[in-house]
């Protein structure tokens, strides 16, 4: 490998590092947008609630109790959120492993989304920990609970966040004009992608495996020894649906920054992804059906819970599957978007059923999250969107990479062994 000769710093035309940062830290765009007006009060309220949470204990702000140790913050923020963030590993798989180049334009935005989702959902998890200061125990190794699925999941989160940071890092290098570092970081991409996909496979299914020991507490329609497999497969279409849903919004909100490449390919990408999502949903339904027969679940189907289960599987999986397939065949954007929303609802419902709704279905008094728990959940999501926007408005995520980086990339892709050409 020839080491690049040029030593690059912050591009000279941008002036000193400090003034560059100062300029970048300033808000860009209008302050009084609808989103800001809604999100600022929510985040302020979240801060107040968290103050009480840490000074008075979890009981002061949540409806959690001895019967229901896990509520909305785990069931939605972590377990559902991570499934939604599956798009990053699915798309890196398609682009870097299968080399489906047509999806490259949206890869950075997807990785960024996944990365931020993991960061913020990890924060949500920390908020839920009763003794967060001891979180270092399983990390620094003075107490490895090696037989614990949660141990595995926690470690995978950490490693995966690192992997996604590396996958995204070329964009930061481009933003700061660090040419040499850019080259090194880009070189790491394939290895991290492979590592990241492996970790994702394991922790997406690991989240399901968390519930394996809760067997007597989860309604038989939702408990199965195949939960880990079902969680993994459903995270694929959950991730794709999120990319479709979020991509549609980004496309509108950040329209000015989009590269012509993204604008042109947007429709093609949408129909392509919709087709894939439809296919994976078919596999998921097939596995669910096998599980249904294998577990003799029909005996539970004639009941309120049975209807609820059918609503989830037919209304929010089979139906969006059909919409995805028809929508992509007819190139009908509205249909694809509806399908994405329905399928996200289906995933959320499935995760919440297992973690909260059909959990202790026999309990006389059931846990229902209170307003404060909902506000904190919304606050975490708002904060995430703020950071996403901050980054997208500054770094080449949806916008084009600087010319030097593109030249570097082209060179890398076509003749990887060549000595430093771009500069």
């Amino acid at each position: 490998m020839g080491a690049p000769a040029s030593i690059s710093r912050i591009s000279p035309e941008r002036g000193s590092v400090l003034s560059f940062l100062r300029q970048e830290l300033r808000p860009k765009g209008k302050l009084l947008t609808t989103f800001n007006m809604i999100s600022i009060p929510i985040m302020a309220a979240t801060a107040v609630i968290l103050f009480f949470r840490f000074s008075q204990g979890l009981g002061s702000v949540t409806n959690l109790n001895q019967e229901f140790p896990w509520g909305l913050w785990v069931g939605f923020d972590v377990i559902t959120g991570v499934a939604f963030a599956g798009g990053a590993y699915v798309l890196t798989f398609m682009v870097y492993i299968l080399r489906m180049e047509q999806y490259r334009p949206i890869i950075r935005a997807t990785i960024l989304n996944g990365f931020l989702a993991y960061i913020f959902y990890s924060i949500a998890l920390l908020l839920d920990l009763g003794r967060p200061w001891n979180v270092i125990n399983p990390i620094i190794g003075n107490s490895f609970g090696l037989s614990s699925v949660l141990f595995l999941v926690a470690w995978h989160f950490l490693l995966y966040i690192t992997a996604e940071a590396i996958e995204f890092s070329p964009a930061i290098a481009e933003w700061l004009g660090l040419k040499r570092i850019h080259r090194v970081l880009t070189g790491l991409t394939i290895a991290t992608v492979i590592f990241g996909i492996t970790l994702s496979t394991l922790h997406q299914s690991g989240l399901g495996a968390l519930f394996m020991m809760a067997k007597p507490k989860i309604h038989p329609l939702w408990y199965s020894e195949f939960i880990p497999l079902l969680f993994f497969v459903s995270s694929i279409f959950a991730g794709i649906s999120m990319v479709l849903f979020e991509g549609g919004i980004s496309h509108r909100v950040f329209h000015d920054r989009l590269t012509p490449e993204i604008k042109q390919s947007h429709d093609r990408i949408m129909t392509g992804l919709a087709r894939i999502a439809g296919g994976v949903m078919f596999v998921y339904l097939f596995l669910s059906a096998l599980n249904f027969l294998h577990g003799r679940l029909w005996q539970h189907i004639v009941s309120g819970w049975g209807l609820w289960y059918l609503a989830e599987v037919i209304g929010l999986v089979a139906m969006p599957m059909v919409l995805f397939v028809v929508g992509s065949a007819k190139n009908h954007k509205g249909m694809i978007r509806t399908a994405a929303v329905l399928s996200l609802l289906g995933i959320a419902l499935n995760r919440l059923n297992i973690s909260i709704i059909a959990f202790k279905w026999y309990a006389p008094v059931h846990y229902i999250p209170n307003v404060m728990e909902v506000v904190v959940t919304a606050g975490v999501i708002c904060a995430e969107i703020w950071v996403f926007r901050w980054i997208v408005l500054r770094m080449p995520v949806l916008s084009a990479s600087p010319a030097w980086a593109r030249r570097q990339a082209d060179v890398e892709r076509e003749r990887p062994n060549v000595k430093e050409v771009a500069a």
């Binding site: 870097y96 967060p132 399983p138 107490s143 037989s147 926690a154 496979t201 020991m213 067997k215």
Partner: protein, 293 residues
């Protein structure tokens, strides 16, 4: 052996799966030698002396209750009361049963705990250690008996549950509740001996007991064992827990983990090579290998 060494190389994550089953096997042989308690439900008068003894020994508040309605409600154990005696209206009239942590032989709670705050001690008690726990409450989710309780109203919350007076046991004393019981409803001893006593009592007094030792096989076997004159479902015991030790339910997943960790990267790399032009491949493969070593 070789294989295990190899798997260990995969690192902390692979080790999860390797260490899990190993530990379970090791403890299975010692189980019969660990200590437990046999509670003969037919001997209990419902005087609740044990509740008081537990509170005193563990520095918990004295249990408060309304004497008049006490026998009509079923009080769960709580973060301030680790041991509770309840009255059940059964086919044989009022029957009193004390409940607390079952001190499972292969506890779900301890295998769930990612910090090893919960620990099955050699002596038999399953204990909780304050300096390790991070308050995730995964133990509460996993315990089939719903035993661990959490201090929701504290900024420095603890998991609270019966520890079978572990501190007393290593001093050579028996648990406070067993010692204080005026009707000798409980026997403290080695699990294997307790099982023998239980079988004998059932065998010699055929009409007085149902022919079942609760805890002998439930959830893989527990340290506390119960014999009773009425079927256990009438006493609020769950009889649908199965005989498998709960950590076994996670084992299939945990054993797949190292396999995926090894096979997946190789598979992905091969797939990438299969999809691309040859010239580019050699370089990328180089890259990857370098990175992973």
């Amino acid at each position: 052996m070789e294989r295990r060494e190899f798997l260990k190389l995969v690192g902390a994550l692979g080790a999860t799966a390797v260490a899990g089953p190993e530990r379970a096997e090791a403890s299975a042989t010692e189980l019969e030698d660990s200590y437990g308690v046999l509670l003969d439900v037919s001997q209990c008068d419902g005087c609740r002396t044990c509740e008081l003894a537990c509170a005193e020994t563990n520095g918990l508040p004295e249990p408060e209750y309304d004497e008049d309605t006490l026998d009509e409600i079923v009080r769960p154990t709580s973060e301030t009361q680790w041991s509770v005696v309840n009255c059940f209206d059964t086919s044989a009239g009022d029957v009193y049963v004390k409940k607390q942590c079952m001190h499972c032989s292969t506890p779900a709670c301890a295998s769930a705990c990612l910090t090893k705050a919960l620990l099955k001690t050699e002596e038999g008690p399953v204990i909780w250690r304050e300096d390790k726990c991070m308050g995730c409450r995964f133990c509460m989710l996993s315990c089939p008996f719903d035993v661990p309780k959490f201090e929701y109203d504290s900024a420095n919350p603890r998991i609270q549950k019966c520890r079978m007076c572990w501190e007393r046991q290593i001093e050579g004393e028996m648990p406070a509740c067993v010692e204080e019981c005026p009707s000798d409803a409980m026997v403290f001893g080695k699990r294997s001996e307790l099982l023998e006593i239980a079988r004998e009592r059932i065998h010699q007094n055929p009409g007085d007991y149902v022919s079942h030792i609760y805890g002998e096989h439930e959830a893989g076997g527990t340290g506390w064992l119960y014999i009773s004159p009425v079927p256990f479902e009438e006493l609020g015991f769950r009889t649908d827990l199965g005989e498998k030790a709960y950590p076994e339910y996670v084992r299939p997943f945990l054993t797949t983990v190292p396999v995926v960790l090894i096979m997946w990267p190789a598979f992905l790399l091969a797939l990438r090579q299969a999809t691309g032009p040859v010239a580019e491949e050699t370089v990328d493969a180089d890259h990857t290998q370098q990175m992973e070593v």
